[in-house]
Every structure is written in structure tokens, then in C-alpha cells.
Amino acid sequence: MSQRRARLGVGLSYQGSLREFVREHLEAYDFLEVIPDIFWTEEHGPDGALRFRENPEGLRLLDWVAARRPLVAHSVGMSLGSAEGGFSPDYVAQLARWQRRYHFAWLSEHLSFTRLPHGPGEHMDLGVMLPVPYDEDTLELLAGRVAQVRQAVDAPFLLENNVFYYQLPEQELSEPAFLKRLGERTGSGLLLDLHNLHTNARNHGFSPLDFLEALDLSQVVELHIAGGYEWEGFYLDAHSGACPEPVWELLEQVLPRLPNLGGVVFEMFGNYAPLLGTDILLGELRRLRGVLERHGGRP
């Protein structure tokens, strides 16, 4: 299984509302992170297996970008942490087909569950990434799933640290210890989302620097940065615009400690892009490039 790692630089997370932006501002990003799920519709066939109806317009755009910039895949539908009825070999096979078509530099997924069984051949999808308990038996479950993904998809596989707004008591492992153990056990890398970390640290009152200390930073292949806002006493990982200063500071602090970093991606939800305009996006990508250059150029 290939674990090659590309050094890609400044990444942009693709959203449908950015289809003109990615064509008109190629110079602003070195690689594009795509959520494959937004380019297809899942349907259940008569045999109960998942079918994927791909959007031809989306494929044309991806083909265009792939001819000019590397792509990485960030899936949202794997539901790795579902105890039953969510994780689907059909879905993984679809990702493997896309890997053969687009040669993603790596594939990532969230350390969470979103799907549950719901009637014969159906599932329920909550549309929100719910964290799994950081316990030994969850580690076992995930290790098996990660092995299946790595076996099927010929690309380095990364797991993303989750954002969570509630505290699950009596967990056997801390989040960084769980991530570290899972990486050691499976050979998967880490997509360290600094905005998720900032959000969790702020909402739950812990030091993000202590969290970073507890990780094995050699596992980090990709970083995410994003923006958010306050709502009723909580800070939300809303991907709603400019990245806040504490996240830029975390980025500056962690960058020199990541020997295997492949790229840093700025995330903004599609709904916000038309409201905020392209200047903010260009500004964040420029600033990110400046930070990377100060730390020795493309990672």
C-alpha cells in the first residue's frame, strides 16, 4: 500500500459556490481539496447496494482542475465510527474508483459517525459529525475500518480530529492519545484541524498547546484552518469566513514541528462565499502562503 506523501503547499477546500473562483484564481492555491460526496448522488439499487450517480458538470470541473493542480479528497460519508449500518464497502469502493481517476495525493475522513441503520437497506444520516467515545473497543472498531479503507484505496489515508460541543464522560483515552494510538495501530496519518482544536479548547476550557504536546506530530500530513463565530455562549466551527488570530498563532507554532506536513487547507462553507465575496478568500489564501513561506516555503 502506497504511503507516498506529496508536498503541496496552500490548499483550498472546494464548495459548489466556488466553481468560478477555482477557474479564475488558479494562482491563489497550490492544490484543491474536494469532498467527493458533493459530486454524486447516492441511490440504493434493487439489490440494496449503493449506487453513485455522478454529476457530469461537476466531473468536467474536476477534470479541468486536475489537469492543472493536484487534488486531495476529503470525504464526509464514510461514517467510520458507526457501530452498525453506516460504514459501507460500496462507498469505499466508489472512493477507490475516484482514486484511480483523480490520483488524489491523499484521502481523509472524520473520526466520527453520522449514519445509523434505518429500515431494510436504508440508513439515517444525521448530517452532523458525532464524535465516537475514545475507548479501547472503539479503537478496535476503527482500526478494522481504517484497514479496509487502506486496503481498497491506493492513497495515504488521514483521520481528522473532530469538533464536539458536548463532553462525553468516563472516556478511557484522551482525544490526542486516541489519535496517536489509532495512527500507530493502522499507519493512517492525521489531518489536524486547527480550527476544530481551537473551537474545542475554547468551549471546553483546555489548552490547545497541551493537546498538541500530547499528539505524535510526525503523523500530521494536512492542516485545516477556518473561521467561526459565537452563538449563545459557544464558539461554533462554522467555516464562516476569516480565520481568527488564535488559529493563525497555533499555525505559526505548530508548523516548525511537522516533519511530514503535505499541505494546509483553508475551509469556508459554500453559503458564506457569495455573501463575503472573493476578496476575503484571496486574502486568507495570500496570508496562508506568507506564513508557509516564512516557515521555509512549501511544506
Partner: protein
């Protein structure tokens, strides 16, 4: 596996603030009736009780609901706006209650919601002609936009004379025509906030949706006879039959073909 039961219970708590309140009011050793039958460890029971009292659960519920809502506001924006009317809003709640989220696929969820509403409209349980026309139009607009089809830059050269009379016209697959008695501009996202009329005028009006480039669909009004011709052009009948039936000249078929709306050549 008890994790499965725990995830089912956690998901139910995320989706229902009322269930959280019910559970928070129970003593630690009890569970809501809905969770009876779920295999749970003692630690998972304690976790669920803690979650029912955790203020962070309301944020998770907010995100869950915002995601569900955004699937509809992004795909059926004008219908979603119309559903905010106090008389219609309970139907959205009913839909969410009766149809748990099965997918984060926007188009699939839009079709599912549209199917729910159309079922009510067709059965007569909901009588609302303006909503019915808006929903049908917006669904057609969505499907055409996702089809990847676009009107060709150079329309086919139509046959003339006897060949025209025998041709069986078909609507270009990049178009859709449907009855629509409101202002077509209301379908545009930039058309401003909408309030649906109580009733529709008792007259014949048609809406033309044209995919001018992949993903870009333009709505426009249609003169009545053009609408009738386009609606009747299913490839089943000849131009001669249709013009006798509709009372229109052959030149109208030529005109529509030259505009790229009708196909008069042999079906591919």
C-alpha cells in the same frame, strides 16, 4: 454490540430537545421509554444521562437542523421560503418528524421533500395551487440544472415541406415547459422575498425553463400557443396532426425548432 444502542440513543437525543428534557427529568437509573430495548452498558447509561443535561447538545441539535434545512433552502429556495408561512410551516415539522434524515445528498433530500408535498397536494390533503405550481417548477428547474445538458449553440436545421408535416416534434431535452400562472422571475434567487398569492388567475399560462449552459437554467414566460405546442410535442404525433389539433401554423414549429426548443429530426 452496545455501542450501536448508544449511538441510536445519542442520535435520538440530538434530534429531539423534548427527549433530552424528558431524560434530564428522570432519575439516573431510569431511561426514557423510547430507549427500552436498547442494549446499553451501565457506563453508556451514565453517559446518556450526562448528555441529556449537557448544554452543548443544543449546539449539536442546531447544527443537525441547520444542515437539514440548508439541503432544502439550497435546492428549493423559493419553495422553502414559501413554506415559512405560518399556515405551511407545520408541514415542514411534520415532514421532519415522519421522515428522518436518510441522506446528506441535497438533490435526493429535495426530491424526497418534494415527493412528500406533492403527495399531500395530489391527494387533496393540502389544497394550495400556487404552492403546487411553484414546487413543480422549482423541482423541474433543479433537475434540469443537475442534468448537465445545455441548448446547443447551433440548433438543428429543420425539415421543410412534406418532411416537416410528417416530422414528430419533440421538446429539446435542455428545456422544460409547464403550466405556471405566476411571474416567472419569482423563480430567480435574486427575485426578492416571495409571498404566494391566495389564488391563481383562471387563465392559461406557461413557463419555459431553458438550460443555456450546464447548470444555468433560465425561466421565462411563454405565449399560450407556443406553450401548447411545446407541451404537446412529445414525439408521438406528427406536425400535421398537431397543427390540426391545436389550430396553429406549421411555421410555428419551424420557428421553435430554429430557436433550439423543438427537435424535428429523427429521434436519436
Amino acid at each position: 454490540m452496545s455501542l450501536a444502542g448508544f449511538q441510536r440513543a445519542l442520535s435520538a437525543l440530538v434530534m429531539s430537545p423534548a427527549l433530552r428534557a424528558e431524560m434530564a427529568a428522570l432519575p439516573e437509573q431510569e431511561l426514557p421509554a423510547r430507549f427500552v430495548g436498547l442494549e446499553l452498558t451501565e457506563r453508556e447509561r451514565r453517559r446518556l444521562h450526562a448528555l441529556a443535561r449537557d448544554a452543548g447538545m443544543k449546539v449539536t441539535t442546531l447544527l443537525h437542523r441547520a444542515n437539514r434545512l440548508s439541503m432544502l433552502t439550497n435546492t428549493l429556495p423559493r419553495t422553502s421560503e414559501a413554506m415559512a408561512h405560518p399556515k405551511l410551516q407545520p408541514l415542514v415539522q411534520r415532514y421532519w418528524r415522519e421522515h428522518p434524515p436518510t441522506s446528506v445528498m441535497y438533490v435526493r433530500e429535495a426530491r424526497r421533500f418534494a415527493g412528500f408535498l406533492l403527495g399531500l397536494l395530489r391527494s387533496g390533503e393540502l389544497v394550495h395551487p400556487p404552492l403546487a405550481e411553484l414546487l413543480e417548477a422549482e423541482l423541474a428547474l433543479l433537475e434540469l440544472g443537475k442534468s448537465g445538458l445545455a441548448m446547443p449553440a447551433a440548433p438543428e436545421v429543420p425539415p421543410e415541406g412534406a418532411a416537416l408535416e410528417q416530422a414528430r416534434p419533440r421538446l429539446g431535452p435542455w428545456c422544460h415547459v409547464l403550466p405556471f400562472r405566476m411571474e416567472p422571475r419569482m423563480l430567480l434567487r435574486s427575485g426578492g422575498a416571495i409571498t404566494l398569492p391566495e389564488n391563481l388567475p383562471d387563465e392559461e399560462r406557461y413557463l419555459l425553463l431553458t438550460s443555456v449552459s450546464p447548470g444555468q437554467v433560465v425561466p421565462s414566460g411563454l405565449e399560450v400557443m407556443r406553450g401548447r405546442v411545446l407541451r404537446a410535442s412529445t414525439g408521438e404525433h406528427s406536425v400535421a396532426w398537431l397543427r390540426a389539433e391545436l389550430g396553429c401554423p406549421s411555421s410555428l414549429f419551424l420557428e421553435l425548432a430554429r430557436e433550439g426548443l423543438l427537435l424535428l429530426g429523427p429521434a436519436q
